[in-house]
């Protein structure tokens, strides 16, 4: 993402310009500190006893030393391990399925001008303006009240694919249209390759950047998703982290130390992912948005 580096200030020369640029840097860092305050407060209080959180929430350490026990208690009481596993399975499976289905779908929609392809494309892109709220009640009525398919990780994974496929296909459609050269495919066709072979051998490897973009955007969305999982997964043993943290808050609402530790544990996995994948995430967001 080096091309995103600023280029505005290069023409500024002279002492006053340098001071002005210094002021801007300080101001930006001050704002940054303000943005980070909530995280820092949650983190420091997650290591304190309840009394001290209430008395002095701003103090950095507890008089009795860091209370690691908050983490142990919260970990056990919220069933962190299980919830984390559920989140991981659901997010992981949904994303793999979504990327495979959507890239195949986008490929045929770009390369064939069948009526069915055109209709599918319009249906998929129209979904982007439909709020989930307008689908939510009938989905529960059909798949919950009538077919009793809820309380099942697989159905949630399938639903995630269904609700993600519009945006994912749209992103890949644009990418295939603009960046996958038709000449390559024609050459393979002359060599006798079938359509599926062309897709898997030639097109799919070229899609890597847009596959990464899709995976990143969907990971952030699905890992943190609450509304749909909360409707589908009523059974406690199936619940994901966001559902579990809400239930935990209901039970331990005034146990601030535990609550803060639970929040830190919810946030940590995705922050670690971000630290390692930062470049791709930032790039993915920008390319995903600009295509929209």
């Amino acid at each position: 993402m080096n091309e995103l580096k600023g280029s505005q200030g290069s023409e500024n020369i002279g002492a006053s310009a340098r001071i002005w640029s210094g002021i801007k840097t300080v101001f930006a860092f001050l704002l940054f500190v303000v943005y980070m305050v909530p995280f820092v407060l949650v983190l420091i209080n997650s290591l304190k006893q309840k009394v001290n959180i209430i008395k002095t929430p701003l103090k950095f350490v507890d008089e009795a030393g860091p209370q690691i026990s908050n983490y142990v208690d919260a970990f056990n009481k919220m069933g962190y391990f299980q919830a984390f596993g559920n989140s991981l399975i659901i997010t992981g499976c949904s994303i793999v399925l979504l990327v495979v289905c959507s890239s195949m779908c986008a490929y045929i929609l770009v390369r064939r001008n069948y009526k069915a392809c055109r209709i599918s494309y319009y249906l998929l892109i129209s979904y982007m303006v439909v709020p989930f709220q307008v689908i939510m009640i009938p989905v529960l009525a059909i798949y919950g009240n009538q077919f009793h398919l809820l309380n099942n990780r697989l159905i949630l994974i399938i639903m995630n694919v269904a609700y993600g496929t519009g945006f994912a296909t749209f992103l890949m459609y644009g990418f295939i249209k603009s960046s996958v050269p038709l000449a390559l495919e024609e050459a393979a066709l002359i060599d006798g390759a079938g359509v599926f072979r062309i897709y898997s051998g030639i097109v799919l490897p070229l899609l890597k950047p847009i596959l990464a973009t899709n995976m990143i955007l969907q990971t952030l969305g699905l890992w943190n998703d609450y509304l749909l999982p909360s409707l589908v997964l009523g059974k406690e043993s199936l619940q994901t982290l966001p559902i579990r943290i809400r239930a935990f808050n209901g039970t331990f609402t005034s146990d601030y130390g535990l609550m803060m530790a639970a929040l830190v544990m919810c946030v940590t996995p995705i922050i670690i992912l971000f630290i390692f994948m930062q470049k791709y995430i930032v790039g993915g967001i920008v390319s995903g948005a600009v295509k929209e």
Binding site: M1, L4, K5, G6, S7, Q8, A28, L31, F32, Y35, M36, P38, L41, I54, T56, P57, L58, C101, M104, C105, I108, R111, S120, L123, L124, Y127, V129, V130, P131, F132, Q133, V134, I135, M136, I137, V139, L140, A141, N145, A162, Y163, E186, L189, V195, W223, N224, P242, I245, Y256, M259, L263, C266, V267, I271, F274, I281, V282, I285, A289, V290
Partner: protein, 291 residues
């Protein structure tokens, strides 16, 4: 081109099913069918449990006009959308301007401002609930009573959290916009004697209008649909004063077990959102200029 060769109908069907089949089947099953079934539900008085549902025609839609709670939540959502759109985009634009003006640590800051977006609405709400209820109340510069126990302040608390979250995301898009403006235009304007403010207003902003279109659309639709953060930060309180549209619809259907009315409200909500989004896209796209 090879795809214009004649293909047999049976081959066309096979290819379509093989490639688009998985996606489209799921899409039809979980989006199209529910959407149509949802329209049917709006004409019933189903409670979600009983085996029979009565057909009531357009009665639910007629009743919506008398639903004071629904309209007050729509009006509240409107105000929330306007306030969030202004603050999120204002701050994101300002930050993007700062970060592209050649200051030190740009990449680091950009990643830092983005961090709140990694976290879901539920967790964000709980983090800020703690800040509002437990931290700010102990500070002498804030009133002793929590923001969240006063209707007006609780509304602004939601706007603050949304601004804190979304501005880091929009920032990325505005930065891409700033960087996308060719330095040649800026140079040319400067030679013609334009000052910094004129360059910003007359050159940069029109040329990065596409960023505005995207950011306004994204902030608008996410603010309209707000649910998770609403649920964990205020839970609609105090006294139901911050119950946004999505929460009202949810409660109507699943708490008061009125699927018919709930779905009718959802459809009206969808139409309102659609109109607003279309107007916004029309207005801002028209101002996009090609460089």
């Amino acid at each position: 081109m090879y795809m214009q060769r004649k293909e047999k109908m049976s081959r066309k069907i096979l290819l379509f099913l093989l490639f688009a089949g998985p996606s489209m089947t799921l899409f039809v099953m979980f989006v199209i069918v529910p959407f149509i079934y949802g329209l049917y539900l709006t004409m019933t008085n189903w409670d979600g449990f009983s085996s029979t549902k009565e057909f009531v025609g357009l009665q639910n839609y007629a009743n919506i006009f008398k639903e004071k709670d629904f309209w007050s939540s729509i009006w509240l959502t409107f105000r929330y959308v306007i306030a969030s759109v202004i603050f999120v985009n204002g701050i994101a634009f300002l930050l993007a301007y700062l970060l592209t003006s050649g200051i030190k640590g740009e990449n680091f800051l950009r990643a830092g401002f983005f961090t709140p977006n990694l976290i879901g609405g539920i967790v964000l709400g709980f983090i800020w609930q703690f800040i509002f209820n437990r931290v700010m109340t102990t500070l002498p510069i804030f009133p002793e009573q929590s923001f969240l126990s006063d209707p007006t302040k609780a509304f602004w608390a939601m706007v603050i959290v949304e601004t804190w979250r979304a501005s880091g995301y929009m920032l990325l898009i505005y930065i891409a916009g700033f960087v996308g403006v060719s330095p040649d235009f800026i140079e040319a304007a400067r030679i013609d004697g334009a000052n910094n403010r004129q360059i910003l207003w007359r050159i940069r902003m029109p040329l990065m209008m596409q960023s505005f279109t995207i950011c306004l659309f994204l902030t608008l639709s996410s603010a309209f649909k707000v649910y998770d953060m609403n649920l964990s930060l205020t839970a609609g309180g105090p006294y139901g004063s911050t119950r946004m549209a999505a929460m009202t619809i949810f409660e109507k259907a699943f708490t008061y077990h009125d699927y018919g009315m709930g779905q009718s409200e959802a459809v009206v909500f969808f139409l309102i959102m659609l109109v607003v989004a279309v107007i916004q896209l029309r207005v801002t796209s028209k101002r996009e200029v090609a460089a």
